[in-house]
Symmetry: C2
Subunit: 229 residues, 2 copies
């Protein structure tokens, strides 16, 4: 017998609530949020949110830190974010080809962070541009930064050895659920996103994971990277 099946079902049930799913997607950028903020995105009262958060934390999907009188919740590991991304990718497959694509928030579709790197049209466009210029080779399952790519990023001030001896992969693909194509992830993707925030090419919107592309950003992505966005 498949003794894991009940466990898998229990586990999936954790995500199978709109409130909890909302909280999890809200946390997919890797940052911590207060219980109140998560109650807000879930659209429920603090009591209800607290109950949901307790369940998620009990199953090690979230970890909680205390900060004064408030509690901060974040995803327990990057693995959780990867799993959610995988689920979204499969969930985004349009089951009924006749129906119009599910209404995805346009801002979200345009540009967002996926844990710690760029996603959405922006993420894919930048990835495509780097690929076209020979900075990057990337398919759905693996990726590789070329010498030219490393030099290019180096010129921008990105030191890819930054977290010295990091066990994390330099360059890996991440399947973009809204574009249904891979974008750049891994250490390189994270470093690129960091740079974009530092240079004010993109700004986090107050709520959610979507980001705003500034005028500077538009210019930079277009001219420096050759991205078509």
């Amino acid at each position: 017998m498949q003794t894991i099946a009940p466990e898998l079902a229990d586990f999936a049930a954790l995500i199978a609530d709109p409130g909890r799913a909302g909280m999890l997607t809200r946390l997919m950028d890797g940052r911590a949020q207060t219980a109140s903020e998560l109650a807000r995105v879930a659209g429920v009262t603090p009591q209800t949110a607290s109950w949901h958060l307790a369940r998620l934390a009990a199953r090690a999907l979230l970890k909680v830190e205390r900060s004064g009188p408030r509690r901060l919740y974040r995803l327990a590991t990057p693995l959780v974010a990867q799993m959610l991304e995988a689920m979204m990718t499969v969930a985004a497959v349009e089951p009924n080809p006749s129906r119009s694509p599910p209404r995805i928030d346009p801002q979200m579709r345009r540009a967002r962070t996926c844990y710690d790197h760029l996603a959405g049209e922006l993420g894919v466009a930048v990835t495509d541009a780097m690929r076209q210029r020979g900075h990057l080779r990337l398919d759905r399952e693996a990726g590789e930064l070329t010498a030219a790519g490393i030099a290019f990023l180096g010129d921008l001030g990105i030191d890819l050895r930054s977290p010295a001896r990091s066990r994390r992969l330099l360059c890996r693909p991440c399947l973009d659920w809204s574009e249904r194509r891979p974008h750049l992830a891994g250490r390189a993707g994270a470093a690129l996103a960091d740079l974009a925030f530092q240079r004010d090419w993109i700004r986090r919107r107050p709520q959610g994971r979507s980001v705003e592309i500034t005028a500077d950003g538009l210019a930079a992505f277009t001219t420096l990277f050759g991205a078509r966005i």
Copy 2:
């Protein structure tokens, strides 16, 4: 607002039923099964199973083929299997360190197929052995077959170019949910599993995804590969 959250929740709800979870795990080896067989593993009546299967197919998790009077269901894409594997990996994290590990079916833990390659203790042992002999480099995020590894597999009669110009990656890691360590997947992993079946090193058990290691298999994995199992 996160317009995807409700979709994600709906999607997760599909997996959040013990019956459906059982059906899905049963199908994770990539083969097709009849509705009756799936009703059996789910432990429900055919009517109920039919209802579950219809839901899964409607959301494009499964696809159905007719074969005479019976209907055969299989996973719609390998991506679905990968997603389920990712979920199991996260679900298998023991939330309560005090409790003993969740009782996983020992046969399942010992040796099973994961879509089309080897998993469980056997899968990890073979992977480790190949790694130790310099045939393979592999971590959680990426993998690479060395020249020695390609030669080694070639000597065994594995032609890794077999599906000519396959878009599928030669060598990639797959995180083993029972062992919590990566094992060999991709085209190389599939070819190796094929070989093991052909040479009768392993045999599918009548039900489920677990496989039996034959005496020949034990000898082959130990001597040929140097695996400690």
